[in-house]
């Protein structure tokens, strides 16, 4: 016999598809219950935002070969979007851009800085995502420029840490960064 009789039916994909379908049904049910019981408080929206956030993280984490820096980048984006969404739904008091996003940026940049020191030899694997994190970390400057933030301190601290992070990388990993740019942008 040349081939196996029973062929793998790709159960993992099926389980994920079923779980996504269940999440979708739960999301719709939450909206229905919300509108039937407490239509004045839109709590179903927060729950659904949470479900979407969980799925972004889970689907990304399911790929067992992910790069830790790419995971940090995704978390940074997903958490920032989630905090802005909740802030907007609560009447936009701007705590997301005053506090939440700068804190997320500070934490992610500190982790990246530690990573670039402890994984000195493997830094090139993180270089591209480090550059992306630095680019996204400059967003608070835009908030300041547009006068969207009340207290500039945290935003300035966040962007400064990101700047330090970039300078550190350019000093100690400039060849890696140059090589990464060459491979990402080759034509």
């Amino acid at each position: 016999m040349l081939y196996p009789q029973k062929i793998n039916a790709k159960k993992t994909n099926l389980i994920i598809k079923i779980a996504i379908l269940i999440s979708l049904i739960v999301g719709i049910l939450l909206v229905l219950i919300n509108s039937l019981t407490t239509p004045n408080i839109k709590w179903a929206g927060y729950c659904n935002a949470g479900i979407i956030y969980i799925w972004v993280t889970v689907l990304y984490a399911l790929n067992k070969n992910i790069n830790i820096a790419s995971h940090l980048f995704i978390q940074m984006l997903a958490l920032s979007v989630l905090s802005i969404y909740i802030d907007v739904r609560l009447g936009f008091q701007a705590w997301s851009i005053n506090l939440a996003i700068p804190i997320i940026i500070i934490i992610i940049n500190i982790i990246m800085l530690i990573l670039s020191i402890v994984s000195y030899d493997n830094y090139i694997r993180y270089a591209f995502f480090q550059l992306l994190i630095v680019v996204v970390s400059s967003v608070p400057l835009f908030f300041i420029y547009e006068h969207l933030v009340n207290d500039k301190t945290l935003s300035i601290v966040a962007t400064s840490i990101s700047g330090v992070n970039l300078i550190f990388s350019l000093i100690f990993h400039h060849k890696d960064i140059k090589s990464e740019i060459a491979r990402k942008f080759h034509m």
Partner: protein, 430 residues
């Protein structure tokens, strides 16, 4: 602080560029080599053999990454995963589930398979890597008999250069036909299944018939294939467009200085106007195939085809389009692009195995992934007196395979059938 080894990377060769842009679950661009040995496979030894072969052929120890304009290969520090065969042959390689490798080694009873993503290499170089795995596996499983081979190192010499760029002719003009091809009609097999039917042909008997007919084995089998399509699909569906048979060509034969392990192949396309030219018997088909081969299989014609393809990849407008847009455009136009070929037949010829290893081998197989437009793909390879002609198909009908088999049997050639049982095949075993 100095870094010892900066992470190795290399560009994709000119042919390889198209595969990651167009490939997906339905169009996997994967080909497979298998070997059937005389003993059951030991997975631990197989893993060791793959690791040792990878040390020699570092060009396979890579992962695919995306740049802004093109994909590229980067060194992969992980170990390859060796699994028991569980899926249909030549399925899309999800590199995330495969420790990022672009090839997959599996085993089943006495058989070792390697599925290779075409971006990595072509059939000719893939075959070299696979043979290295097979040699090493046989040595490891028979250490006494191969004591000397295990102590010494079998040297391999190769580069990863883009031989297309080195050898193409800037002035050559394309000679590609603009006519769309007859597309095989019929329902597809459901649930993503792929049928594999192997026709194990008596190579000596086939060679004698070819000598009598004054043609090569590839020409003869191409003619039988066109005849089977004509009788079983074309006539029944009242086809009007030409049957176009694509035959890959190993460019290293024309540029022997190339030692590249990257892709370096081109192709010729036979264009049989069945109705217009009244090619309605096997004899007429064979004559047409011989004439068309003579016309198309020349160095000048092959360089023209290769150069035209290189020019597309070198076009500055194509170069500056971001990868994400390239993917969207190619995938949207995929069905139109693929409508210029009815079927592909790749013959890698003799496997060229060192004599001492032959007693441990039954035969080799080669398979190419079928796709939604080209629902059947054919391949062949020869070991000793066994030529295995393989149909990989997603067409829910095995009449072309049956007609092919019956034709050879009627000519007095001994043929045995093996299959993966997806389609109801010819049950006769001679």
């Amino acid at each position: 602080m100095k870094k010892e080894n900066r992470l190795y990377w290399r560009r994709l060769d000119n042919s390889a560029k198209i595969f990651p842009i167009s490939a997906g679950k339905k169009y996997s661009t994967v080909f497979r080599f298998s070997v059937v040995l005389k003993e059951n496979i030991d997975p631990k030894l197989l893993k060791k053999a793959v690791m040792l072969a990878l040390e020699k052929y570092q060009s396979f120890k890579v992962r695919m990454k995306s740049g802004l304009f093109w994909n590229y290969f980067e060194h992969n520090s992980k170990e390859p995963i060796i699994r028991e065969e569980q899926d249909y042959p030549c399925k899309y390689i999800d590199y995330r589930q495969n420790n990022n490798y672009l090839f997959k080694v599996t085993y089943f009873e006495k058989k070792i398979n390697i599925d290779i993503y075409h971006s990595l290499t072509d059939g000719n170089s893939g075959n070299l890597f696979f043979k290295e795995i097979v040699y090493t596996y046989i040595e490891l499983s028979h250490p006494k008999e191969f004591e000397e081979e295990l102590r010494s190192v079998r040297k391999v010499e190769y580069t990863t250069e883009d031989s297309y760029m080195k050898n193409y002719n800037k002035k050559a003009k394309s000679n590609a036909s603009s006519k769309k091809a007859y597309i095989l009609k019929g329902e597809s097999i459901k649930l993503g299944a792929v049928s594999a039917i192997h026709e194990i042909i008596d190579a000596e008997a086939l060679k004698k018939i070819c000598e009598k007919e004054g043609c090569t084995v590839t020409q003869y089998l191409s003619a039988v294939l066109i005849y089977a399509i004509y009788e079983e699909n074309y006539k029944k569906n009242n086809g009007t467009k030409p049957i176009k048979l694509c035959i890959p060509v190993n460019l290293k034969k024309y540029f022997p200085s190339s030692k590249t392990m990257s892709n370096f192949f081109s192709y010729i396309t036979l264009e049989a106007e069945m109705k217009k030219d009244k090619i309605d018997t096997f004899e007429k088909i064979l004559q047409f195939v011989k004439d068309d081969f003579k016309k198309r299989l020349t160095e000048e014609e092959i360089i023209k085809t290769m150069s035209a393809n290189v020019k597309i990849g070198n076009n500055p407008f194509i170069k500056i389009v971001p990868l994400i847009l390239k993917k969207a455009i190619v995938r949207l136009s995929y069905i139109e692009i693929r409508k210029y070929t009815t079927i592909t037949f790749s013959n890698v010829g003799r496997m060229g195995i060192i004599g001492k290893y032959k007693p441990y081998i039954e035969y080799f197989l080669m398979l190419i992934a079928p796709e939604p437009v080209e629902k059947i793909k054919c391949s062949a390879c020869t070991f000793d007196n066994k030529m295995v002609f393989t149909f990989t198909s997603i067409l829910n009908d095995s009449s072309i395979e049956k007609r092919f088999y019956e034709f050879l049997i009627a000519r007095g050639i001994k043929v045995e059938i093996e299959s993966n049982g997806v389609l109801d095949v010819i049950s006769t075993k001679n």
